[in-house]
Amino acid sequence: MEFLERFAIPHPSPAIYASMVAIALVSIGILAGLTYFKKWGYLWREWLTTVDHKKIGIMYLVSALLMLFRGGADAIMMRAQLSAPDMKLLDAQHYNEIFTTHGVVMIIFMAMPFIFAFMNLIVPLQIGARDVAFPRLNALSFWLFFAGAMLFNISFVIGGSPDAGWTSYFPLAGNDFSESVGTNYYMLAIQISGIGSLMTGINMCTTILKMRAPGMTLMKMPMFTWSAFIANVIIVFAFPVLTVALLMGTTDRLFATNFFTTDNGGMDMLWANFFWIWGHPEVYILILPAFGLYSEIISTFSKRNLYGYSSMVWSMVLISLLSFLVWTHHFFTMGQGALTNSIFSITTMAIAVPTGVKIFNWLFTMWKGKIRFTVPMLYSVAFIPLFTIGGVTGVMLAMSAADYQYHNTMFLVAHFHNTIIPGVVFAMLAGLTFYWPKFFGFILNEKIGKVTFWLLTVGFVLAFFPMYITGLDGQARRMYTYSEATGFGALNMLSFAGAALMAIGFVTIVYNIYYSFKNSSRDIGSDPWDARSLEWATHTPVPEYNFARTPQISSSETFWDSKKNGHELFKGEIEEIHMPNNSGIPFVMGMIFFVAGFSFIFALWVPAVISLIGIFICMAMRSFEKDHGRHISVKEIIETEEKLGGAK
């Protein structure tokens, strides 16, 4: 019994017990369903062991949507608690846990897999490649992300959630002030999925540098590929910093070291610095691919090529460099002195310049274009003004002297949601709608999509603009309640209404998928949007080898050239295609990482050591394995091509 006590939740509530039951029931339901419909073999062969970038992309996509709902549930609980003064829905401890898990889930387990989904789905197609450079590693990346996400998500029913904020500042996150295992979950779950992200970074950089179709010079890459490339370069340089910081945080908590403690020489500000040296580049890892998606969508639906291609590229390069030089702006008030603060104010404001260049490029792309207001385009059009507001408030926050007023208030919360929701979340939803037909063979219903769009946009404005005001008036961030006398009540009620609209909006997305699956036409051809870049040049749904013949590239809009200017995309004979084999090792390794993470979290050393050995055995097996992949014969390719409606 004593052994089991460590798994109890330190701060239970009926809602948590209800969730436990729900989780147990759903898990049993899934297992039973898989058995009843005899889908285990299918699941194993087609998904758990796949190394196909498209299937991995779809798994990222599904995970990201699930996590959006988990993070969204947290959000609506917080907004409900704040909707009126002195609410009693949540107590202080629960509020702490919820804003922490909300932040981590949304950034690490929702936004990251969402961009990885699009990188996986689109990048190989846009550069005319068969797959990524290291398909097996790609699968491992996914399963590490998945293991991390599962680990983080069980925290609230086993042992207790982390509660020190998504930034997990020390000394608050140290053992003295965070006694439960919650912060161990934070350290290890993010570590595991972070290793996966780093591997994706390496994989994607190599893919983009080395596997482009003949004729595609760097400056002929489609814009999404450019954005993905730069984001992955940032990943390669930023994530190791997080790895080290998390390692030190973990040893502080598990082995009583003194990196971030307040005695024996420990330095709590070192964590804050490391965290944000990773953390600020991280937000650009999220926003650059979003910019890339908007670029594709805006030029497609304006029927014009992207305005200022090279300035788009150079502005992203500049942003990626600057993103490493601004981290101190997250703690202007923590005593660096005026000179340091001024320098970081200026570097921060400088980022507005390349970002502004991009905004104008999008506007000029639309200028005199033949605009079609499809759902993806609506999101893009709403993004421009809303994101600009987020950027302007960002520049306000960047002024270090003024930041003493805004710091840790709802103004900041409004600011970063103002960039991240119209910036990242809208881009993901726009991309989802835009690329859905490519991978699933039908278009999502446009009418329902527009309803979703309006619910989200109006909901967003209602939910977050009032926070600017209450923030300036002094409503603090991460406070679970406020008194009647503050006068914040009405505006917070408005925020709650907005959040509720957004929640309804997210539900309509699921409904739309269901509705379109039942009702949408399957006869949409391979280019339903009259699009411009290479990913639309192959069949829908995409065959496993992507392109039967390697495409010949003329420009960043090769496909458009082939449609309008008679450029010959596919030349020569169909040849045999080499493909990688499926493998169960990545999945197994992911699961072992899960067990290892769990064991470390609860300081169960025996299983921890055993699972580490297991990980090494998997690596050794990989080393000795002889895997030369397999070949798809010309006959098979021709048959597949015919089946999909004519050879390409």
Partner: protein
């Protein structure tokens, strides 16, 4: 699989070239990892709490042995790759084995060094300085340990399968890794030990 004979064996297939570029990018990430560790070390080296200061615990002899052994091993693995390029499998295997034995020596001395620190009261928990020191050294040491296993696997594979594009590629990448660990050690030697002893 298309083999391009104008290239050295380790570069001769498309996948081989991808592997090498991918590994260089990985080394870029490793540089960031160690740069972060060094930053932590430089920030914390003066923060000794009630524990000892760097000059009080560093001993020159084991450090010199470690340095000598590791530098030599970098040289021998270079000879190993040279032999591989000439297609001399046995010479290559000999040099790889010597490299790993030197690596093992290094590790032995490093373990001795850690025990020494422990005995004189500079443990992982003593102060921010000791934690940063042992984490930086330990991360490097863990890399060496992993390298010993990895190198052994490669030797076994070359022995059994001969010099193929695949085994040559693995051996070459392993040599990059090993040289990298040597470079990191040079930084550790200069900026942790020498600086700390002055």
């Amino acid at each position: 699989m298309h083999i391009d004979n104008s290239q050295p064996l380790e570069y001769s297939t498309q996948q081989n070239q991808l592997n090498i570029l991918g590994f260089w990018i990985f080394l870029g990430a490793e540089i960031m990892l160690f740069a972060t560790l060094f930053t932590a070390y430089f920030t914390l080296e003066g923060r000794t709490g009630s524990g000892p200061a760097p000059a009080e615990i560093f001993e020159i002899t084991p450090v010199l042995i470690e340095t000598l052994v590791l530098l030599t091993s970098s040289f021998t693995i270079g000879l190993g790759i040279h032999a591989m390029r000439l297609g001399r499998k046995n010479a290559m295997l000999t040099f790889f084995t010597i490299t790993l034995l030197l690596g093992l020596c290094f590790l032995g001395v490093e373990i001795y060094e850690f025990m020494h620190y422990y005995h004189i009261g500079a443990t992982y928990q003593t102060s921010a300085f000791t934690a940063a020191l042992l984490t930086t050294l330990g991360t490097h040491g863990a890399h060496v340990t992993l390298g010993l296993f990895w190198g052994t696997f490669i030797i076994l594979q070359v022995k059994k399968r001969g010099l193929t594009p695949e085994t040559a590629n693995k051996s070459f990448i392993f040599s990059l890794y090993w040289h990298f660990l040597d470079v990191v050690w040079i930084f550790i030697f200069s900026f942790i030990y020498l600086k700390g002893m002055m």
